[in-house]
Subunit: 305 residues, 2 copies
């Protein structure tokens, strides 16, 4: 099932035709409040009441020329201002390919630096998202360069990648902000763990290893997962070891485990809800379905009933 | 099955009668070369060729008076001398109840201090074994006191105990020697994880957390498990993070995964084989059977064929 969905995510014909079907648009609403920044910002409002932070990302396609990267950077600059003027506890997360990584790494670095600086003015972290394994090295290297100049930059690391322990230990001395996810791309077994027990074991180990530094305030740790059992284990480790509840943040996607997000926030954990928006939601949506069988069941219910 | 075996381990009548049956004595030979120190030392010889170290422990019953603790301490002093005179890479591991923990903690501390000092003269670590959860706090506290005076003391920690992260973080500043095991006693769910995935996740996390300090030479880490998949994951983490193969030691029981012990040693890992001996093997043997279904199958083959 997972591999079919990930194949569908890559298929050009389906990508062109599926999103036009009305049921597909209805189903995707579960995870995405709308295609515009305005819709995303409006959807963020109810989270204030619960003290839940937000992370905004605009879904995008590969770029064909650098002017598109400029337009995307401009869009995020506008979003940073909008977040600040609304007084939202909101941050942004951007894929480096959207800022031109394939076309001109120096231009990408310049965009990243400008966005970091802009986010810093309202005391926010600028998050770099992680993509398929072809981009991991370039993304980590770019993070190192940005982090050397800007304290408020965060990076997503994927626990399923076999290389991640190396990336983590390379970044630890920089006092990084790490958003740890399991990983959702269809990677080869030489590159990524494929058995759930292996991915979960790697995730728990990487998170636990970061806890002492996070508790000491030398690292910001976001647990980007919907696996509540895993979050519970890491939380139990932290509590038992005497680290404060606030030493990590749970980061979940908009529309997934909404009640658990509130429950965690109410019981003293830091929670951040990730709101994605934009027109290019097709491949992103299929990766979300591939992550959890429950999501597929929901999509099918939208289709047939 | 596991619970039946652990119940059998505690049952007084069975404890009296089962060990007398000839098939039981035959079956236990798989894990125990004999009942005397001489037999244990003789069994150690073949391990030299492969560069595999040894850890000796004498199986014991609860003590009824302190003179027995003195006799046991004397026995281990003799063993330390014997190991040194044979030039074996051998260390000893002792349960604190065998040194009188139930009867007189100060006497136990004195025995532990004397054995640590004696082991230090031949450059060896004196290992403290871990027992059921009723003894955990007293054992960790005794370890702290011994470790403050003697650099060469090691402690066994059990990953299945919910309290272990607290114990570990309490000991990390002391630059401890830790032998990490999953845990083999029949503990309550309030005290210990009972699901295999939870125990494995805890084990991997605790081990990975110790790796950086172990690689820096500030901690000695023994992985006391026969779970090769788990050892592989921890080894892969270490390699990927750039830590040397020698930053941990794999510790397995005599007679279990003998070929894997040799294979690991040959491929550059540090390996230590644990040889238990003595007359009081009944409860110990049943805990070994409870750990692995494969061990039970072996015991049944001894019985019926």
């Amino acid at each position: 099932m997972r591999h079919i969905l990930l194949w569908m995510a890559r298929n050009g014909w389906l990508k062109e035709h599926l999103p036009r079907l009305p049921f597909a648009r209805r189903a995707v609403r579960r995870f995405m409040p709308g295609e515009t920044a305005e819709e995303a910002l409006a959807a963020a409002e109810p989270f204030r009441t619960h003290g839940i932070g937000l992370l905004f990302t605009r879904l995008g396609e590969n770029l064909s020329d650098l002017s598109q990267a400029q337009a995307i950077a401009d869009h995020y600059h506008g979003l940073i201002d909008e977040i600040a003027s609304r007084g939202l506890d909101g941050e942004i997360s951007v894929k480096l390919t959207q800022l031109g990584l394939d076309l001109d790494p120096d231009a990408t670095l310049a965009h990243g630096a400008a966005l970091s600086e802009h986010a810093a003015r309202s005391g926010k972290t600028f998050w770099i998202d992680m993509e398929g394994s072809a981009y991991t090295e370039a993304t980590v290297a770019m993070y190192e360069r940005l982090k050397a100049e800007h304290a408020n930059v965060g990076l997503c690391l994927q626990a399923y990648l076999r290389r991640t322990p190396a990336d983590l230990h390379r970044l630890l001395p920089l006092h990084p902000a790490i958003r740890l996810v399991k990983g959702a791309y269809d990677e080869h077994a030489a590159v990524a763990f494929r058995k759930r027990s292996e991915v979960d074991g790697a995730y728990q180990s990487l998170a636990v290893l970061m806890l002492p530094q996070a508790a000491a305030g030398e690292l910001r740790l976001g647990l980007g997962t919907h696996d509540l059992a895993l979050v519970d284990r890491i939380a139990e480790y932290a509590t038992t070891a005497g680290f404060p509840k606030t030493c990590f943040e749970v980061q979940m996607l908009y529309g997934i485990r909404a009640r658990d997000q509130v429950r965690l926030a109410t019981s003293g954990y830091r929670v951040r809800d990730l709101i994605s928006y934009g027109e290019a939601w097709y491949a992103w949506y299929l990766r979300r379905l591939a992550e959890r069988p429950a999501n597929v069941a929901f999509a099918l219910r939208q289709l047939f009933g």
